[in-house]
């Protein structure tokens, strides 16, 4: 237990903050501490968590990606059109199309980064502009509301009537989110590829000399994020029941902030799935709590921005600097 605390300092402190905020909110608002609210939050944050675990893999591999949210919009649109061609389709074909489109877009980033040694932020800023510009140009900003029925029908996996007559439910996005989280966790902690991703992110040159295929690492990392962006895009279309070309525009920076809040390091080699999920949850719990407390929605972003700023400042200052005695115990590094 103690070693877990030491090795997972970010996750533990995030969890502590989440518990503290939840405790305050449970006391100060009537509706926060209820199963229904918790389920609502899970349903709402599903897409962001799917994006976040994808981005986590890229961050671990030492890259950064600005273009994934726009890529997800491209995937949404492309999938909606492709489904029209094949005459409807179903969940399997939808996920297949969205996933492969996403992987393709991720592979373009990886190709630029690996083949031409463009650093990832430059490459993804250029693809961000290319994807978004072309998407808005070809769609003329027109949304698609005419989606296949299977895509817009809400799929309720679990429902339960509460004593007061309201229904609580877990919907399909949550299931997909859980599968994506588990898959990412298996990829980065239980496979050789995962170890190699960490090694590559921590020290690319060292990894290369060790015989790790650097090109493969880039394609796996960006391909994985592409896959997650594709799935997330489809799920977002399912959840929102429409495809709006610029709906996800700007989401990338919010997700990035959440992932980094969860302990991933810009520069690679560090980060965990648990921290990443907690980072997203912290932000959505705060947002949900502010909502329940009746704070004006216009103030949400301000408060959340301030929280992230403080959290990043503290996490970089390091707990050992704030607590001098802790550094002696953990002087292993």
């Amino acid at each position: 237990m103690r070693s877990f605390v030491r090795t997972h300092a970010t996750e533990v402190s995030l969890l502590a903050v989440i518990i503290a905020i939840s405790a305050v909110l449970s006391v100060s608002t009537a509706n926060f501490f209820s199963l229904g609210n918790a389920f609502d939050m899970l349903n709402i944050s599903s897409v962001n968590i799917i994006f976040a675990v994808g981005l986590l893999v890229v961050l671990i591999a030492g890259g950064i990606d600005i273009s994934f949210a726009v890529a997800a919009s491209v995937v949404q649109y492309g999938t909606a059109i492709a489904l029209g061609w094949v005459g409807g389709g179903g969940w399997i074909s939808g996920l297949l199309i969205a996933g492969s489109l996403g992987i393709l877009l991720g592979a373009i980033n990886a190709f630029l980064i690996h083949r031409f040694r463009v650093i990832s932020i430059v490459a993804t800023i250029s693809t961000f502009n290319i994807y978004f510009g072309l998407l808005m140009f070809f769609t003329k900003g027109v949304s698609i509301y005419d989606l296949p029925d299977w895509l817009t029908d809400r799929v309720i996996l679990f429902e339960h009537e509460m004593p007061d007559g309201t229904w609580i439910e877990i919907t399909l996005p949550v299931l997909v989110m859980v599968l994506c989280v588990i898959a990412t966790w298996v990829l980065i902690t239980r496979t050789t590829t995962g170890r190699q991703l960490y090694a590559f992110g921590d020290n690319p040159e060292g990894a290369r000399r060790f015989g790790i295929n650097i090109g493969a690492m880039q394609f796996i990392a960006f391909g994985w994020l592409g896959l997650m962006a594709g799935i997330g895009g489809l799920i977002q279309a399912h959840y929102a029941q429409e495809v709006v070309p610029n709906a996800l525009y700007g989401r990338e920076l919010d997700v990035l902030a959440a992932v980094v809040l969860g302990g991933a390091r810009l520069g690679g080699g560090k980060g965990s799935v648990l921290g990443c999920v907690l980072g997203v949850l912290l932000i959505s719990i705060t947002q949900n709590g502010l909502n329940l407390m009746g704070v004006s929605p216009f103030a949400f972003k301000m408060i959340i921005g301030a929280i992230i700023l403080v959290a990043i400042t503290l996490s970089n200052t390091g707990i050992e600097r704030l607590l001098p005695f802790a550094s002696q115990k953990g002087s292993g590094r």
Binding site: I130, F137, T313
Partner: protein
């Protein structure tokens, strides 16, 4: 003869090759494709559109030179614009006098600089990554602005502000004059002052700079403060041009300013890059957008082409260095 070529080479510098070639390519392509392209109207419209994006790019340039990034630029500009707007409104709105404008502008620049100082302090003292610090500052400022304006517009400014956004002086648009003055100021700052020298040094190697006795923290804070002040100037110009302030104004410029810097040959890791090539890169971007407009495409296609241009320049640079290396090897 050789000496002249060498002099020219050092004067233009290697950073100029990318934007210079792109400039020629754009002029040639659109000059042939559209007869109206090489006209005063095109350059007039470019001259009016250039300053907003250009001033924000200057604000982005300094942090990038130190190896950082300032993602908060557009919202800093809008918050500064709001400051000016409120000073004008509390002094009679449409009837506000030049005094109120001056006071408001000074306050706006102070607000912009203050947001930069906060970021600079956090970056310098906690060694947090500039992307994260400025990102959270961006989210905070966007929230603050939405909170204060409820997402709406603030408008109703005195008429004498109009010329600042739309007027011309001796045929040159006034926003362009402001922009060129700022470009020159940045150029002098970076090439002639100690602060500029230290900025490059920090971008090349922060630790070595610190060990050589330079107060790197002070330099970083100053760099971000100047970046914030430049955002404020952009905010004032944007206020005059749109005749309103809205917190979302210019949001789409954010990543394009980064694109313009990289296109202008600035090293993404900091330490290398000059103001003039960035200026040329900006002109190229705007000419491209106007040219596409003339042949019937819209702004979104221009955005895509800008992205392609950046990717293309990066790929060409890679190919060029590779070619140069193999060329040198053959010779020896």
């Amino acid at each position: 003869m050789n000496a002249i070529v060498e002099r020219l080479k050092t004067l233009i510098g290697p950073e100029m090759a990318g934007p210079g070639l792109a400039f020629l390519a754009v002029m040639l392509t659109f000059g042939i494709a559209s007869p109206q392209f090489l006209s005063a109207a095109t350059f007039g419209s470019v001259a009016f559109q250039l300053p907003e994006l250009g001033l924000l790019t200057l604000a982005m340039l300094l942090p990038i030179l130190t190896g950082g990034l300032n993602l908060a630029i557009t919202f800093t500009a809008n918050i500064a614009g709001l400051t000016l707007a409120w000073v004008l409104q509390s002094n009679g709105g449409v009837d506000a006098g030049p005094g109120a404008f001056l006071l408001g502008s000074v306050l706006a620049i102070l607000v912009g600089a203050a947001s930069g100082v906060v970021m600079g302090l956090v970056i310098a003292f906690t060694r947090a990554h500039p992307i994260l610090v400025s990102l959270s500052m961006m989210i905070f400022l966007r929230g603050l602005g939405e909170f204060l304006t409820r997402g709406g517009d603030v408008s109703g400014f005195p008429a004498f502000l109009g010329p600042l956004g739309h007027g011309s002086f001796l045929g040159v648009p006034i926003p362009l004059i402001v922009f060129i003055v700022c470009v020159l100021a940045w150029h002098v700052l970076l090439t002639r002052t100690k602060l500029g020298f230290n900025t490059y040094m920090i971008g090349s190697n922060l630790e070595a700079t610190r060990y050589s006795g330079i107060n790197t923290r002070k330099v970083i804070v100053l760099v971000y403060a100047l970046s914030g002040a430049m955002c404020a100037i952009a905010g004032i110009i944007m206020l005059a041009r749109f005749n309103s302030v809205r917190i979302g104004h210019g949001e789409s410029y954010l990543l394009i300013t980064v694109l313009a810097c990289f296109l202008g040959g600035v090293n993404p890791f900091g330490g290398f890059g000059r103001v003039i090539p960035v200026f040329v890169a900006l002109v190229v971007l705007q000419l491209l957008s106007s040219g596409l407009n003339l042949v019937g495409a819209n702004q979104h296609l221009a955005t895509a082409v800008w992205g392609l241009l950046l990717a293309g320049v990066m790929v060409l640079r890679f190919v060029a260095t590779k070619f140069k290396i193999s060329f040198v090897r053959k010779e020896t």
